[in-house]
Amino acid sequence: MKRKIARLAVETVAVLLALAIFGVPISYVLTNAGKSSAAAAQMSIAPAANTQYLANFSSVIAQSSYMLIRAFLNSAIITIVSIAVLLGISSTAGFVLERRKGRGISWINFLVLAGLMIPPAVVPTIWVLKTIGLYKNMMGLVLVEAALAFPFSVLLYRGYMGSIPRELDEASFIDGCTGFDLFMKVIFPLMKPVSATIAIITSISVFNDFVNPLYFLPGSKNVTVQLTLYNFISTYLNKWNLLFADILLISIPPLIFFIFFNKKIVSGMVAGAVKS
């Protein structure tokens, strides 16, 4: 009985702590998004005397000739296409790297790891994008995002592949599969949990990316959602209420994504952990 009470107490404290850590900032954003600009500039957590959510949201959406709508569209395209490219490339790479053994493979593994360790440089990347004609083009940014997430995804896929028995490959070959069939019909469906994990983690990091779109996708029509935040702050003049309203609007898609796929993330992360 005593133990139960102790456990309950610990759990209550943990829940309260989580509420404080996550709840306070969110409620701060929520209340300030509805204030007037003078009230929001005071940076207080107290609820507003009169709220003006509708006015704030509509001026955020109308800002710079409806930039936010274009930004949502751009961000959605960039996120979806980069995930598709990334999953296609890194799952096949992970499959081959785990199944094949040899000297060449360990070198390739080293190169993939190097991608995790060496930071990307901006100016040479712009030069490369310009040479292949993809600078200021959404496809160019898609390639950059996919390349940046590639090493980590390959690691996850390789780890997961280790848990898929080789006997499956052999059985499929005996049944007449080609290598391509084997991957498409047997292996890729089995890797669903890890694909889901990668899709969720990278979609959120791509959607929330600020620096890469800033450097690799300039142009008045090429805005992404994170860049719209800068519409409301500058050195000498800030519109905090609209900034918070914008934050609220652009955090809705990742939030929905997280709520629905939360379970998959954890199962996918753990899936490759234990080799049998």
């Binding site: 500039a41 800033l214 008045s220 860049l227 800068y230 702050i233 500058s234 000498y236 003049l237």
Partner: protein, 422 residues
């Protein structure tokens, strides 16, 4: 059949639209986000587009150091727009003007600009930009209501100023508002003291750049740090200075909780956004020095617009700059509201409806009692000045220690610039 017709109609429409658009040139302008002047700029752009067959499209960049990095990256990648908004003075000079920007010294509008402005956007024989906003003046903003209630007069000397502060403090109000949470605001008392420093030591900027004068060893230069610290030791400042933001300070000034806020006139747009009905209560005076007949204001130089050399439409861009500083352009600029300072353009008639604080600042300019801030006279400005000013303002170090620390900070900068004498 029907579908084919629709496709044809759409194609024809696209062709017509693009054919129509082909007569008009398009300039791309890399502009700061959320500029206080954006409304005025939009008005100028609209008037320009109506007059010439040239369209202007904005690309936005953040105003912080993120934006500086972006511009440097795009220069390195040879990918600059047709027009660029940027800080004047040392930040602009770093961009290697002669190599990267179009020289404007032979343009007809060159003679319209104030020489003091041209000097901060020049390199070698040319000058490279036009002013984009009115001239900000640095000094002390004060609440006129508090002054009227306590029967105070605008101080002309530092002694009168501290006497006023004592009375305000005795009346239970905050005498001087400081906002050290945004540490850049701590520098204002120091930087805006340059008029007084120059009055006492006219050649300071030259000697300082040549490493002959130091803040620690020049008594007039040390005054800046002493003034910041005096606010603290005499108890004039608000409580929780380290938690007070730029925006908090504006509210305190507008609502009359505090009487003085050392700041430049660029803050007026922000106060006007949040407290439009309080603008009539806010006045401005120059930072007082030691003698009443040497009382003047320190000016910052306005942000500028320049044309990068890589632009393929330099002629169209020059037309826009010409229009921007013309009478027509200025009329459009002022059509959306009174400007918050004097222009760096000769013979501009100021409209009615200026903010009282702007009027106060312009009085000094008309009386020719001005000096540019030190950062426009010397390329040497240490990166750690905000933190050092906060240390002085919180009494963590003596003014002499702060000055010595700043001299060391500046030395690194000067050596990086490879100035002679360092």
């Amino acid at each position: 059949m029907r579908r084919k017709l629709i496709v044809l109609a759409v194609m024809a429409a696209i062709a017509a639209a693009s054919g129509f658009a082909a007569d008009r040139q398009k300039l791309v302008w890399l502009q700061w986000t959320n500029e206080p002047q954006q409304k005025a700029i939009d008005a100028v752009v609209a008037a320009f587009q109506a007059k010439y067959p040239i369209d202007i499209e904005f690309e936005f960049k953040p105003g912080s150091s993120e934006g500086e990095n972006l511009v440097k990256t795009r220069i390195a990648a040879n990918d600059m727009p047709d027009l660029l908004t940027y800080n004047s003075g040392s930040l602009f000079q770093v961009l290697n003007l002669e190599k990267n920007f179009v020289d404007l010294s032979n343009e007809p509008f060159a003679s319209k600009l104030l020489d003091s402005f041209k000097s901060v956007v020049s390199a070698g024989k040319g000058f490279y930009a036009i002013p984009y906003q009115p001239i900000p003046a640095g000094g002390i903003l004060y609440n006129k209501k508090v002054y009227a209630e306590l029967g105070l007069k605008v101080p002309k000397t530092w002694k009168e100023f501290t006497a006023n502060c004592d009375k305000i403090k005795a009346a239970g109000k905050v005498a001087v508002i400081v906002s050290y949470k945004d540490d850049w605001t701590a520098q204002l008392l120091f930087l805006a003291d340059y008029y007084n420093l120059q009055a006492a030591y006219p050649k300071f900027a030259q000697d300082y750049t040549a490493n002959k004068a130091k803040f620690a060893t020049t008594p007039a230069a040390l005054r800046g740090f002493e003034k910041i610290q005096e606010m603290f030791t005499k108890g004039y400042i608000n409580k929780d200075p380290m938690a007070t933001t730029y925006d908090n300070a504006q509210a305190m000034l507008a609502n009359g909780e505090g009487a003085h806020y050392p700041m430049a006139t660029w803050v007026l747009a922000s106060i006007n956004q949040n407290f439009p009905d309080k603008m009539k209560d806010i006045g401005f005076f120059a930072q007082p020095g030691d003698s009443a007949d040497k009382n003047g204001v320190t000016l910052w130089m306005p942000t500028n617009i320049s044309i990068p050399k890589t632009s393929k439409k330099i002629d169209a861009a020059k037309k826009f700059l010409d229009f921007f500083v013309s009478a027509e352009g200025l009329a459009a600029y002022m059509s959306v509201g009174a400007p918050d300072g004097a222009f760096a353009i000769k013979n501009v008639k100021m409209p009615e409806g200026l903010f009282p604080a702007t009027k106060d600042a312009i009085t000094y300019i008309n009386a020719n009692k001005t000096a540019p801030a030190l950062e426009f006279l010397s390329p040497v400005k240490g990166p750690n000045l905000p933190q050092i000013c906060v240390e002085a303002g919180m009494g963590l170090k003596t003014p002499a220690e702060c000055a010595a620390e700043y001299d060391r900070d500046v030395e690194k900068q000067a050596k990086q610039l490879m100035l002679p004498g360092w």
